[in-house]
């Protein structure tokens, strides 16, 4: 009985390992690479706010599928001293304002000069 239990556990272990190998193989075959990204594809215009946050679909079993209305994007500016200052925003107007602010007004969020 003890040996039988050991063999059962070993078989279960091998099955687990086999499933893991299949998953690895799946990845290596590049099947996942067929998926399309949702943010801007190369060559298309990048937008931060993408929709009004509407429901895309409700499945027959009631699952609600929604596309987020915006994405958080990291921006960078070079200040008047040549240092890079970053800011992460999630609205078009905040991005535009930061990217076009006068260099002398660019300071780290934590520290101003005057």
């Amino acid at each position: 009985m003890g040996r039988l239990r050991s063999l059962s556990l070993l078989a279960l272990l091998l099955l687990t390992a086999s499933a893991a190998s299949a998953a690895e193989l799946h990845r290596e075959l590049g099947m996942l690479a067929q998926m399309k990204p949702v943010l801007a594809m190369p060559g298309t215009t990048f937008t931060i706010e993408r929709n009004a946050g509407d429901v895309n679909e409700v499945t027959t079993d009631g699952m609600i599928i929604s596309t987020p209305p915006a994405v958080d994007v990291m921006l960078a500016r070079v200040d008047k001293n040549g240092d890079v200052v970053t800011s992460c925003v999630n609205t078009e107007e905040a991005a535009h304002a930061f990217l076009h602010r006068a260099p002398e007004k660019i300071t780290p969020l934590r520290r101003a000069g005057e």
Partner: protein, 489 residues
């Protein structure tokens, strides 16, 4: 003994797979041949990154950051990140020598009412929903989408600053890609909500799990309990919007440092603790306790500064200032100039009162942090702090009655947390100052990965961020397997 070890070893691996999860964060290279992650431009291995082409180095950094998140969160379902490293095209904001979009990432979908959903009618990022459902709810679609800007590596974009592809954080004047990827992937895993900050409306009229933990200490409501207009107002309620998740709160108590506060002891009309902004120059207010009378400094109205309280010229009331704490207004000249004038007048410390309030352009409504600007501040040896405009005006109005105060460390208060100990979320009083709500507040110390900007002193750790993810439902891997194996031995 051998009979005992085999089943124990098997049990160990099975337990490990059952409780630690087999899922990984996987980077899916979505770039075309010869571009982005496939750029064949030769590159020298740097900072532990062994890649020998630009593309390899970029992909290696992404994979390293993904591995770090794989080691941090627990799921049985792979988290697929579809990533590109192409030039980001945005006609209204093209990449220039001093401005660029670095990169972005976020959940591809948010799902509600799925199998094993912890709460009904609440949106979860798809990667987390998959974890709860224990299956891929959106097969054939990635869970997180990421786009990073390859143009940063050109001279036309951010000048001499390029991406740094090392793993060691020694990025110098370049931008540490590892930190930015780690930050953006956290957004994709759920450090983000769905509310429109301008209108307060919810994504698909449903709250996101993030909004269930976004709490306004002034109104006593979480964002899912508010109307749209209340959320819109709360988004600008600086210092009062916090993350109320218990895991993050508990972690904040040990991980955030104590802060220095200004405690006014008299008169009673203004007595109390005031939040301050600190300076990167002068005496360290963390180690230099100061007490005394607050005296408003008077100086000449001239070309250095047009008002008699801006502190831009030598103080006219130096005899009153000497030995006391000087108070001046922000504006017209560098902070260092004001500090130099205060020090010359014999002040024991300087308080600079902000000149912006809610509704003003560029206002953050936090006491400003202060740097030396273009000046050399090595001669400044008194503490220099700032106050909010509203606080400063109230105190100055009582100056004639004799305002006594002390500057000291308050061990009960944590830098970046509310009085109740909840970590603050970034809620500048104008949206233009940066993304609201979906970041920890910039007052946190030490600096955190999910503040709205990347600090040069950030390590490659996930600090409080992992606890935020735990609060929305992620779990950390449980290394039960190893424990059982040790027992077997």
């Amino acid at each position: 003994m051998r009979k005992l070890l085999l089943p124990l070893f098997a049990l160990t691996l099975i337990a490990g797979s059952a409780f630690a999860g087999n899922g990984k964060v996987i980077i899916q290279n979505a770039d075309a041949a010869g571009t982005g992650f496939n750029d064949p431009t030769p590159a020298t291995p740097v900072g532990g990154n062994p890649g020998t082409t630009l593309g390899e180095q970029r992909l290696n950094v992404f994979k390293m950051a993904a591995q770090q998140w794989s080691n941090t969160i627990d799921t049985n379902v792979d988290v697929i990140v579809s990533a590109t490293f192409a030039p980001i095209i945005r006609e209204s904001d093209p990449c220039t020598a001093d401005a660029a979009i670095l990169g972005a990432a976020g959940p591809v979908r948010n799902l509600a009412n799925f199998t094993n959903s912890p709460k009904q009618n609440v949106l979860y990022p798809v990667a987390l929903a998959n974890k709860f459902a224990n299956t891929d709810l959106r097969p054939g679609e990635p869970d997180i989408s990421a786009i990073f800007n390859a143009e940063v590596d050109t001279a036309a974009c951010l000048g001499a600053s390029n991406w740094y592809y090392g793993y060691d954080g020694k990025h110098g004047s370049d931008i540490d890609l590892y930190v930015v990827v780690l930050h953006e992937l956290a957004h994709g895993l759920g450090f983000t909500g769905g509310a429109n900050l301008r209108t307060g409306s919810l994504e698909s009229n449903l709250p996101n799990i993030f909004e269930l933990h976004t709490f306004d200490t002034q109104t006593g409501q979480c964002w899912d309990q508010m109307s749209a207009s209340q959320r819109r107002d709360s988004a600008l309620n600086t210092g009062r919007v916090v993350w109320d998740g218990p895991a993050t709160k508990a972690a904040a108590a040990s991980r955030l440092g104590s802060i220095v506060t200004l405690t006014v002891t008299a008169p009673s009309a203004v007595a109390g603790n005031y939040e301050i902004g600190s300076a990167t120059f002068g005496a360290d207010s963390n180690t230099t306790a100061v007490s005394g009378r607050l005296v408003v400094a008077k100086d000449a109205k001239n070309t250095d500064g047009p008002t008699d309280t801006d502190g831009c010229s030598a103080f006219a009331n130096a005899s009153d200032i000497s030995g006391n704490i000087a108070v001046v207004d922000r504006g017209s000249c560098f902070f260092v100039n004001k500090a130099r004038n205060a020090q010359a007048a014999g002040a024991s410390a300087l308080i600079i009162v902000d000149n912006k309030k809610k509704g003003d352009a560029d206002a953050t409504c936090d006491p400003p942090g202060m740097g030396p600007g273009d000046d050399d501040a090595s001669d400044i040896h008194i503490p220099v702090i700032s106050l909010r405009l509203t606080d400063g005006e109230a105190i100055k109005a009582q100056a004639a009655n004799g305002v006594n105060a002390m500057l000291r460390i308050d061990p009960s208060q944590k830098a970046g947390a509310s009085q109740e100990g909840y970590p603050r979320l970034y809620a500048p009083c104008t949206i233009d100052s940066g993304s609201s709500i979906h970041h920890f507040d910039v007052s946190a110390s030490p600096n955190l990965l999910m503040e709205p900007y990347t600090s040069s002193d950030l390590t490659h750790g996930v600090d409080l961020t992992v606890y935020q993810l735990i609060d929305i439902g992620w779990t950390q891997p449980v290394r039960t397997g190893r424990t059982i194996l040790r027992r077997g031995k």
